[in-house]
């Protein structure tokens, strides 16, 4: 889902922050992508490498992706569970009253600079 545009957003934010803290170079960027976010991390990594290569401050920077699993909490039995194929039924008590607690993240966490 628009991994190139998302990679460009990451590059834009990181370049701006690097400029603000007067970094000479950015060596690595750590991001968090949820399993249920719709973002394909392989394509994102590929797009990021391509765009970083065109940026003097980001050239050669490593993109580290922390994948967040899709998990939900059951309101009935108060247990957390891993969501498979977006099916939100509690596998423990079979109730449907559940809410997603993780897996939709699309976040830039931090960067390593020099």
């Amino acid at each position: 889902m628009h991994e190139l545009a998302i990679a460009q957003s990451i590059v834009d934010v990181v370049e701006q922050r690097a400029h603000e803290c007067q970094a000479a170079r950015v060596k690595a960027v750590r991001i968090q992508i949820g399993e249920a976010s719709g973002v394909a991390t392989d394509s994102l990594t590929f797009s990021f490498a391509m765009l970083a290569g065109c940026s003097p401050i980001l050239n050669g920077a490593r993109l580290s992706v922390e994948c967040v699993p899709h998990r939900a909490r059951c309101r009935h039995c108060a247990q957390d569970f891993a969501v498979k194929d977006f099916v939100l039924r509690c596998p423990i008590c079979a109730e449907w009253s559940t809410e997603t607690i993780s897996g939709t993240e699309c976040q830039i966490l931090e960067m390593e600079i020099e």
Binding site: R17, G38, T98, C106, I108, M111, I113
Partner: protein, 218 residues
């Protein structure tokens, strides 16, 4: 090597504009729907039938999203609604800034409800908050009965699903009960409407619900 914390949502710029849009709508007491589907599921025909039925009771403004042409806006204008056409010229989904700009061309003070007809695309629109109150997905029985499993995010983010073209059921391999089970497994709170915009079946129930929605009663 020094680490600098950033902690920023990558889609934050769109979220900020979507919030602006929401605040503007709340101020004018106008509700907004975002209708999404694959190309050809029947969004524009649904709008035509809805406008024909509700024109007197609910004042509706429409934002039409297409990659090219104003053909859909022309149809909706002919159906009697104030309409703004957005042509994205290649973008496959609408974004909040497009809606913010389109809303300036509608007379919000005179409207009860704004309906966005999103670009025909069962993937990308699901991820872009437009400031809407409600997301409606339209799916036709001519699209195969495995689409909820294949495109779960779209069904997960919606509040309403319209299963359209039911008049075609005798002519297609489509297990309606399987589809309903699949979508409710992904989104147990999804409200379902079964419809044929062609024959009119199911339009009355949809319009009755939409009327109460536009009044803030549900």
């Amino acid at each position: 090597m020094p680490r600098v914390m950033i902690a920023q949502n990558i889609l934050a710029p769109n979220e900020a504009i979507a919030t602006e849009v929401r605040q503007a709508l709340v101020k004018c007491q106008v509700r907004m729907l975002n209708i999404m589907s694959s190309p050809g599921a029947g969004k524009t025909t649904l709008l035509e039938r809805t406008l024909a039925r509700l024109r007197e009771q609910v004042k509706i403004g429409v934002i039409e999203g297409d990659i090219e042409t104003s053909a859909d806006a022309a149809r909706i204008e002919a159906a009697g609604a104030e309409t703004v056409q957005i042509n994205t010229r290649g973008a496959c989904h609408l974004e909040a800034h497009m809606i913010r700009d389109a809303l300036t061309e509608l007379d919000l003070a005179s409207l009860d409800l704004v309906i966005i007809e999103n670009i025909g695309n069962l993937v990308c629109p699901a991820a872009w908050n437009l400031g809407e109150d409600l997301r409606v997905v339209v799916m036709s029985v001519a699209e195969g009965d495995d689409k909820p499993a294949k495109y779960p995010q779209m069904f997960a983010v919606a509040q309403v699903l319209i299963i359209n073209k039911l008049d075609l059921l005798p002519h297609v391999d489509y297990d309606l009960e399987k589809v309903k089970r699949q979508v409710l497994a992904i989104n147990p709170r999804l409200r379902l409407f079964e419809m044929s915009c062609r024959t009119g079946m199911g339009i009355e129930a949809w319009c009755a619900w939409l009327t109460t929605f536009s009044r803030g009663e549900c």
